[in-house]
Subunit: 432 residues, 2 copies
Amino acid sequence: MKVLEWCKKEIEQLTQKSKTVGLQCIMFAKWIVLAVVVGLLVGAFGSLFGVCMEFATETRFRYAWLIFLLPVVGLIIVALYRSCSITKDGGTDIVIDTIHNSGAVPFRVAPLIFIATVLTHLVGGSAGREGAALQIGGSFGDKIGRVLKLDLMDRKVLIMCGMSAAFSALFGTPMAAAVFAMEVITVGVMYYAAFLPCVVASLVAAHFASEIIGISPESFHIINVPDLNLEMIAVVVLISIIGAGVSSIFCLILHKTSRGLEKLVKNSYIRVAIAGVAIICLTFIVGSRDYNGAGIDVIKRAFLGDVVPYAFLLKMLFTAITLGGGFKGGEIVPTFFVGATLGSAIGIALGVSPSLCAGIGMAVLFCGVTNCPLATLFISFELFNYKAVPYFLLAIAISYVLSGYSGLYGEQKIMYSKYKARYINRNVKDGD
Amino acid sequence: MKVLEWCKKEIEQLTQKSKTVGLQCIMFAKWIVLAVVVGLLVGAFGSLFGVCMEFATETRFRYAWLIFLLPVVGLIIVALYRSCSITKDGGTDIVIDTIHNSGAVPFRVAPLIFIATVLTHLVGGSAGREGAALQIGGSFGDKIGRVLKLDLMDRKVLIMCGMSAAFSALFGTPMAAAVFAMEVITVGVMYYAAFLPCVVASLVAAHFASEIIGISPESFHIINVPDLNLEMIAVVVLISIIGAGVSSIFCLILHKTSRGLEKLVKNSYIRVAIAGVAIICLTFIVGSRDYNGAGIDVIKRAFLGDVVPYAFLLKMLFTAITLGGGFKGGEIVPTFFVGATLGSAIGIALGVSPSLCAGIGMAVLFCGVTNCPLATLFISFELFNYKAVPYFLLAIAISYVLSGYSGLYGEQKIMYSKYKARYINRNVKDGD
């Protein structure tokens, strides 16, 4: 009898277990299909964006006079956003906020940020492109979720999915893209439910962008990675400490400029026109076009050690005025620019490989402004050289701690103190 | 007047800011010093453990008759634990539980698990060594925290620090070690306050182990990584699905055997003696010593495709009896063994590179039993070949989802559902 009872119990357990396993398999299949759809759609749109950005940059290089259109383009951008009734544009914060709360990413954000970012780059505003990518991906993800009538929780996963797909298509870094979307929303909490969908969408989007559209992924080569001895540790620590400080200052300048300009000039048309004129004047005062556009070419030169020591300061200024004035684009590529030129300059001053120092600088700045140490590690491997692991590890860990609670995204939450294993649940300090 | 007021306000803000920065710098310095101390101490003890383990394994290979001492050594281990009044040994769960709650890791755990693991390996029990490392590191970290009279929160960080230092010294994988300690406690929550301390302790311990003691880090070479085309995707998906299932079954067998033996034989001396005799009999029935000890040599052979298809089953059986009977050691190296032999066997059957499949199998199993996708990614880079990124990424993501809520560590918490962005806060299911 006892054996019979035991058998019955085991069979019941097995039935229960197989039901759970069946349910899990359905969920698995569902997310694979959704992720492939998001990966393809966002990959296509993201690739198109990438191609347009390349075109805008090339055109800007060819026709130097385009810079004089800055004020005009500024007016067009403001008018565009006004006509779509987005007067207070939160940028990437819109997407982050939607995942925290129960809002929605308006779908018109995608075409708007697409056009506005391409226009900004065409005339030489100083900005990045990943902010646009995150918004495009996020709004696509949300839209797909709404069309399929998914519940809020699944829609949040799809938003993250879209973010990573767009990021991945544009930068060719699927691993960093997947982890970044999970890590950036709430630092300290990992929405691992989004891991498989984000990975699949990222891989599909990266494949689509590189193999079908032919966008070549960015990469910056660190040459000759020496062993991490005491002398090199001192170099890493120095770059990390200075870089962490600069990342805080960069966030502060971005926010202060934006608020300051808003207070000084209430009318957003006049504001953007003034900012446009300011960028034109600055460009001619500086006597170089290095600080207009994204500046990927300058980052590449920084890896070769061909950089002036104050380049990072000028880039911060140009970007703050461009974005604070009302032009559109991301903050990440400028962050990379600041990190690479700062690192390279320190490397040259100390007589250490500028390519290694530029890579470390980029990692330090990226971690400092995004508060995402693991995504930073992954992006360092994908953009630079896996061999420099211990350098990145140390630099990123220091930057995470010393950059404090400042950050690019005011809606980003930091769950645990950076200095103690304590729950704090606070928003990133946006420079006030 | 307005300008004066503004200046005053700004100066006040700056003073406040510099106070915060000063405090952050003190915290920074404190953690660097503590982490270096933990890294050196645990690195030294961990290296000594590594050397002893190597000695035990070599001696076992040299004197085949040592296997007949299994029951005697079993009795000694039980007597040792009894004499230190640890009757119900939670293994690695003790450390995880201490971080969740406010207990302490008894310091005698460190020497106990050290001796017991070395003895188990000397006579050919089937077990790993990282369980020992985690317990040694954890109890050292806790002890240092108590000696310095640190508060509970800081002690938790030091425990994680110790765990990563020991893991890193033993495996030579500082990056994975640092992230594993942060990720394994509560899946979905990252205690980033421990990031810098863990990174520094890991780097110091790894350096100490390899440069001063001369322990060479493990590595298994994946040769010829093909592009991830549709055919290879199918292979990865297949290995991941089978591997995720096997990882759940492995956890189930481990727990069921342990509980079953406890129920069947109440007396722990008799239990361990029976288990010892069982391992001896099994070894002679199988006619091979491949399933005794850690089996690193067999893992290496699996990478060359030299493996029998049922090797993973036998390893699960040997390990379940060894650990369930009361011998000591970790579960991770056996997990690697199961993954590598399973993957390799699938690779041979499909005519695909066995080294690539063995590596994927190891990653899938490790992620399946630990529920730590990011640490698995890092360990894959450090143990195998960074070039196989997309393979690992996909395999780990699938394994994370399909392995469900089973796991090695019953005290591990999973914060968010694996299938939805929903808070669940549940313990890992330990096979019941």
